[in-house]
């Protein structure tokens, strides 16, 4: 079953165009959304969350268009970004107490406690008192605590130490076993190699590839190249084209 389908998503800015972005993600799959800075990853994700209004295109979750079912869809997905700082002077406890009221049927106190412990988070601390890496973990904890069927994570591993990154990738694999789909953007190629099933590669606002990672290697990698080498070569070729 397709968890999310994006069709012909287009958004034009004065200096950048997201051009007919299309891809889909099935349940229980981990998809890595990869591309260099400014390629259109965040704009795509923001459009998929209705934070950015696309000029045209269609976004369908669980067979429902986002446009008419926004609240229902958002209750079934978890989102996290590593870069934004919510309510820096409020205690994590207070933020969580508000957030969980929006998930009356799906908030999972057990998962919440599990991730609080796993990420060594203290409820009495404020986001201002957290390091950048701990803020990422705090956002992840919120996204993971309400039995989301799809996790959308914008650069979740940026700012994390190698141990925490490894731990997080294990969490993704565990969630996949439970049937949860994970869609995460990254520019750390090794993260993709460790856990992703599918690769969605965006370059200059266009989807350059959207396929299982094994197929991507067969189609694009040259002999002796690892995935990082392949991406670097493809980006250079795209720049000189």
């Amino acid at each position: 079953m397709s968890i999310v389908t994006v069709r012909n998503l287009t958004k034009t800015y004065p200096a950048f165009k997201l051009d007919s972005v299309s891809f889909s993600l099935r349940e229980g799959r981990i998809a890595g959304f990869i591309g260099r800075n400014g390629a259109g990853k965040t704009t795509s994700i923001k459009s998929m969350l209705n934070l950015v209004r696309p000029d045209s295109g269609e976004i369908i979750y669980f067979d429902m268009p986002l446009k008419d079912n926004e609240a229902q869809i958002k209750s079934r997905i978890g989102y996290s970004t590593g870069t934004v700082n919510w309510y820096p002077r409020k205690k994590i406890r207070d933020i969580v107490n508000v957030e969980k009221r929006f998930f009356p049927d799906t908030w999972d106190e057990g998962s919440f406690r599990k991730y609080m412990t796993m990420f060594s988070l203290d409820e009495d601390k404020t986001p201002l008192e957290l390091s950048e890496g701990m803020k990422v973990k705090c956002n992840l904890m919120l996204a993971l605590s309400h039995r989301a069927e799809l996790l959308m994570l914008d650069e979740p591993t940026s700012g994390l130490d190698p141990f925490s990154r490894d731990e997080l990738l294990e969490v993704f694999t565990e969630l996949k076993r439970q049937g949860v789909a994970v869609f995460f953007s990254t520019h750390i190629i090794s993260d993709l190699e460790k856990c992703a099933d599918d690769i969605i590669y965006i370059s200059g606002g266009r989807i350059a590839a959207a396929m299982p990672i094994a197929d991507f290697r067969v189609k694009h990698s040259r002999e002796g190249e690892n995935l990082e080498d392949t991406f670097l070569r493809l980006e250079k070729e795209a720049r000189h084209a």
């Binding site: 923001k46 969350l49 209705n50 934070l51 950015v52 209004r53 926004e70 609240a71 229902q72 958002k74 209750s75 989102y79 934004v84 700082n85 919510w86 309510y87 820096p88 002077r89 409020k90 207070d94 933020i95 107490n97 508000v98 957030e99 009221r101 929006f102 998930f103």
Partner: protein
């Protein structure tokens, strides 16, 4: 909508929004333009908008499982809640002035606007203008609030000036009725203020919802 109002109160409201409700008690001050209390209540609400912008509240709210337009409705609900709290304080002060303190020498020599139903109607009109000009202006961008607030201040004090002056004009003395005198006229003016408040707020909220849908966060 109850949850989004709860979120407004717990996470994005400034403590000044709550404290400035007490400025409704300015309706007790004799020989003072009592409608300034209305401005201070709205100044408290402005602090919450400022707080919301600084803490990324709008994006946090838009990511909650609510429709994007519900973020706007939550802000308007919060405005209305604080405004109604301020209005209740002003109403209580006015009722006490009109009954228990009706014959108090402090108020008998009051040359400025009396605290009466007309003043309360004007208070509602100013609250409605705050919702129309400031809240409506804020949601054109969801982050710029200086211009809408300055515009609101100018309009607010112009309305206060007009309201304070009206009873000096011949034939309009009844607007400054003390006690329960002229109660039919006074209550009609209060009702008119209430109708304008509802209309201005609904108009502004609908327009803001439509604008916010188009904003890229």
């Amino acid at each position: 909508m109850r949850n989004i109002l709860y979120k407004e109160m717990k996470l994005s409201a400034s403590v000044l929004s709550w404290l400035f409700i007490a400025f409704g008690l300015m309706f007790f001050i004799p020989n003072y333009p009592v409608l300034c209390g209305v401005f201070f209540v709205t100044l408290g609400i402005f602090q919450s908008f400022q707080n919301a912008r600084e803490t990324n509240d709008i994006v946090f709210s838009a990511l909650l499982p609510v429709a994007k337009r519900d973020v706007v409705k939550g802000k308007y609900l919060f405005c209305c809640f604080i405004e109604m709290c301020g209005f209740l304080v002003m109403t209580a002060a006015s009722v006490i002035r009109m009954t228990l303190l009706k014959d108090s020498p402090v108020y008998l020599g009051n040359t400025l606007m009396a605290a009466n139903p007309f003043a309360l109607g004007m208070a509602l009109l100013i609250f409605g203008l705050f919702n129309l000009i400031f809240a409506g202006g804020f949601f054109k961008t969801a982050y710029k609030f200086a211009k809408p607030f300055v515009t609101y201040i100018i309009v607010c004090f112009a309305v206060i000036g007009v309201a304070e002056s009206l009873h000096f004009f011949p034939g309009l003395e009844k607007l400054n009725a003390v006690g329960t005198d002229e109660h039919a006229l006074q209550l009609s003016l209060l009702a008119a203020g209430a109708v304008l408040y509802v209309l201005l707020t609904l108009l502004s909220c609908r327009r803001s919802c439509a604008r916010f849908e188009k904003i890229d966060l």
